[in-house]
Symmetry: none
Subunit: 419 residues, 2 copies
Amino acid sequence: MTVELISVGTEILLGNIVNTNAAYLAEQCAGLGLACYFQTVVGDNGERLAAVLKCACERSDIVILSGGLGPTEDDLTKEVAAEVCGRKLVKSDMWTERIREFFTARNTTPTENNWKQALVPEGALVLDNLNGTAPGMIIEQENVKVILLPGPPNELIPLFEKDVRPYLEKLTPGVIYSQTVKICGVGESMAETKVKDLIDAQTNPTLATYAKTGEVHIRVTASAESAKEAKKLTKPVVKELKARFGEDIYTTEEDVTLEKAVEELLRSNKLTLTCAESCTGGLLSARLVNVPGSSEVFRSGLVTYSNKAKRRLLGVKKSTLQKHGAVSSRTAEEMAKGAALLSKCDVTVAVTGIAGPDGGTKEKPVGLVYIACNVKGKVTVKEYHFSGNRAKVRESSVAAALTLMRSCILKYISDVTFG
Amino acid sequence: MTVELISVGTEILLGNIVNTNAAYLAEQCAGLGLACYFQTVVGDNGERLAAVLKCACERSDIVILSGGLGPTEDDLTKEVAAEVCGRKLVKSDMWTERIREFFTARNTTPTENNWKQALVPEGALVLDNLNGTAPGMIIEQENVKVILLPGPPNELIPLFEKDVRPYLEKLTPGVIYSQTVKICGVGESMAETKVKDLIDAQTNPTLATYAKTGEVHIRVTASAESAKEAKKLTKPVVKELKARFGEDIYTTEEDVTLEKAVEELLRSNKLTLTCAESCTGGLLSARLVNVPGSSEVFRSGLVTYSNKAKRRLLGVKKSTLQKHGAVSSRTAEEMAKGAALLSKCDVTVAVTGIAGPDGGTKEKPVGLVYIACNVKGKVTVKEYHFSGNRAKVRESSVAAALTLMRSCILKYISDVTFG
């Protein structure tokens, strides 16, 4: 079964944004065993969009459109899809109600434009978008299913997961089962080299590696007639990966992120956590807080970007800052220790580094980061050299901090358990 | 003049990589005044690639293909392009020499496959790729120019800048100039309603609205024979937008973000800032720190996710938490005041709310957020109702906090200036 992606948006055509939606949808569809041969980007132009959609409907079994469902004049994906599929636009009572609720909750009144969003192609399945004012829609034609999704990723992704994936699963014959082995602290080339023989020999299941910041995910995908059989096919491969990567695998669960794995480790060992951040500026705390229920283990975060704050809040010594500098192993250590004193938490982690673009020197170049992890008084400090722009260095630092915390906590548990 | 982009690569179709080449090329082409109406991604499949290329050649003046120029069996972009354009492949003496040099410099011998890379469509312009073994190529047909570029960004980008941009500049007569008016604290539909007449009447310049979380950007784009003329055309429209949106416009500069605008306001008024965050968990600090040089004004951030941390670090009263709850106007106010006491900063902002998915009640539903801004002792607290998932509520809260800070600081300046 084939799927084709159409992204609608002038912003993509102008290069204002990178088309991450297409990458997300493509990855999801590949995971479902759908063959994707074409992806197209087209602007908010009725004639051109209609031409692209018609062509896609002729050559593919499923067409997923994203974008152009907003309330403005520009947005005409729904109108064009209805026309190409030969359907009228009709008012959806359910969605009219949802728009009313949405604006009542905000104490504002919908504009004329907003009511346009309650119109849907006649007979379409309406998917409840919990994060915006445009519903998702599925138009089932005789030879093709046309799926319409809103463009903002924070609407598109939840809607895909909640409604579209289950819908597609029902369409695809046989069963595809995927398991993802998530690895931290190992580079992509290293991981690939380690599994090259498995990838070269793959048939069913197949293996694919995905590089994420500070992580590598290996997806093992099997197809079979039943879920049980497909699962059975993946099992020995996942076992082999576990043997090869050992403790560097932090999970094999779809919904477990690295921060969640760290929190579960803290929770199950009754440990509390405080972060002290300089160059990451709160991103590490934000990732930890993003795990629902994290307040049980994540107590507080301290963003000490200025030297003053490092001294005042964390008690980093003036002499340390003068002699070693704010970006040094010693400062990271004192930050972690200071955070423990202030917060009384069992685990504290401190990040200090040069994210750039300015501030680098020959001795301390942009990308130099020190991370200290203190587990009940035992402090480990590591030096890192990250590449890329400011955002990339900060992202890499956060992933490295989580990876270091994880290994320090595992070490602590092993020491406690085995003396 | 129109341009169309074709990205060739199975890794993009599978979602293994994000198509950053297309974003780069699209932005470059837009800057050159070329209208890009279509971008297509297709795999390493001769038949499908030929169909896509034929279609592109019929509807566009320039077609830029990227990827599929490597030495392997899979790579067949050049072969397909030659066939579609009715040209034979012939050996390029210049490129044969370059391949020899390339491998000599690396002390290795080219494989049979590498020599394939010396073949080019007859009559094509050969572009010297300094970073790889595939040359760029330009095939000039009667009605269309077909440009072939290697896929790796570190080959594509230098080659585009060195040879393709100058080539395209010669083809394009006019100049495109864009200016973006960035607005905060106004919804997209509201903004659109306010400029509907301008959008309806647009010719040159054109107007387009872009919704961002908590912001709306309006792009004004003009085309003319010279940059000066194009700028002149946008001027009255930008002026009109300024009149309609007034203080809600935080910038008209491309590279100024909302956080940067807030920081510039702080800096120019010699004010320092500390944030106290609960539900946003460090995201507000992270956005502020992301502005290079922010340590001058952004002093520290406190992530007080647990009630203990709110009390211990910020001195929020136990009775307040008991009587009003952690998510309340009163708690937000005490957090902002406590942050001022602790940090001695001029401006402190506090965010507390329910980001969900759990923790909501009938009285205090998910999405309820209180933000307090304290400017030298004068505290403003606002209540917000955001929709969406956890990430969306947090993102909206951060944008609202920046918007509130901005308006409180502007109010303070106006009070100081005019008594």
